[in-house]
Assembly symmetry: C3
Homo-oligomer: 202 residues x 3
């Protein structure tokens, strides 16, 4: 039940992040809907492909589609001074989505008894895959791969779940809170991973 609430929050946050990127790129209304939908559902679809679940399970979540479409529509019509405040709310809700989806993605892989590598990839794709496809469709280099600590927290969730040292609801809820908080801190405190620059003497 709680996970359903997290999923709804995450779906709305992801759909709006896609719509926002499309609007920043001055895509038309069709592009805004497509980027919103792709960001919300693309990560789960690619995960299903890679771990061997039928991709068509996508269509069983029709209510989620309607929620995403409604969120995109409201956001597109929202007055300008409210959009400016989205940044703060967007970051919080996006972190909830990242954390909830990463955990759910990893659990899918565990239920299929796939090896650890698959559990980590499933967590990363479910949490961050939609955002990567969003950036590609917007003609941007995916921000997740460049400097924000985002996908790494999904990978950590996948690792801890895949190791199967801890189990049970208490563990999963704790992990959810820790990942959400770490992601918010990564953003507010501008944490970053090491970058190795290459100097060519060209």
């Amino acid at each position: 039940m709680a996970w359903d609430v997290f999923s709804v929050i995450g779906t709305i946050a992801f759909a709006i992040s896609g719509a926002l990127v499309a609007m920043e790129e001055e895509y038309d209304l069709f592009g805004v809907y497509i980027l919103g939908i792709v960001t919300a559902f693309g990560g789960g679809a690619i995960r299903n492909l890679l771990i061997g679940l039928p991709v068509s399970t996508l269509w069983s979540q029709e209510m989620m589609f309607q929620i995403a479409l409604a969120a995109i529509t409201i956001f597109f019509l929202m007055p300008h001074h409210l959009i400016k405040h989205w940044n703060r709310w967007g970051n919080l809700t996006d972190a909830i989505g990242l954390s909830a989806f990463a955990i759910q993605g990893a659990m899918h892989a565990v239920h299929l008894e796939l090896p650890l590598a698959a559990t980590i990839v499933a967590a990363v794709l479910t949490g961050a895959g939609g955002g990567i496809v969003r950036d590609l469709l917007a003609g941007r280099r995916p921000i997740v791969l460049r400097h924000e600590i985002y996908g790494v927290w999904a990978a950590c969730a996948g690792l801890l779940i895949g190791l199967e040292i801890f189990r049970g609801d208490f563990f999963l809820y704790s992990l959810f809170i820790v990942i959400t908080v770490l992601r918010i801190f990564s953003y507010t405190r501008s944490w970053s991973l090491p970058i190795r620059k290459l100097q060519y003497s060209k």
Copy 2:
């Protein structure tokens, strides 16, 4: 039978549009063939993935492959003054392809008894998915998402077919003509969808 003719026209139009984009980007002969093939067959492949049809049905259309390869080859060798005229013919044949593929894609989803959302997505992907992948491989932001009214007509076809209010050959042929004409008008009259610009006070 008529649908087969529309499919052949559409496949040729899509293959040439891919080859043309590759030539505009100064890709080599290999890139020209790859972009042509991807534009002609990529949308159907992604649709199959998402609605749960085996992607390998792709390989049962070997004659279509040969037609596409022949079209790309002829176009690559075509004298320059003929290519300049392609724009007009290209727009007409591309509209036929969009319309025919969108309708066929939606029918696949209806036959699988998938929900309305899947029917719309199947129509959009079959009609416009190849062009999106073409633009990504050319390093362009997909034109369908930016300012041309193109995918929306595919979505309309998917919606009308998915609602299953109307059925039968007469409905499908009428829909085919209407979608084709609307797409051609969108182009010749430069129709566009609303764009919401964001002004940041950065």
Copy 3:
């Protein structure tokens, strides 16, 4: 046995080429790992999708994952003067990977008794698909489609295997050597395919 060795060499070369592109684009450590993994395993995953093999067979090669992760880690930490020498070794090992993966990809399609077109596509995707996804994730136009003779050699391997005129280990080893050498020559002698430029009188 020999093919296992070629596969290991190719996997290392592809993983490092992904890591190198990510470092050139100043992606962070997470991006370096993702691009490395995608380059090494992405082509095979897309090939499995398109020829109808379960994509989840990916997860049975856990040792290959560990080898790729180790190669990426070592390369990320490597002193600068050693990276400069990578170009020469990178070209050789990458050619081995291209050749071995193209042949293995084509053999998969032949075992599934797919038509010639599928065999060629399987060879190209297995050999060059990972590099295409790598370039897209790096925000680059795929180099394979632009001016390097690379994918064409994979297509030739697919064609010769798909025609099934020659068979047996001796043929496959000879083909492997020929494709590897042709790819190395393409690079060292800057061979290129014809490009048709379009002059618009805009």
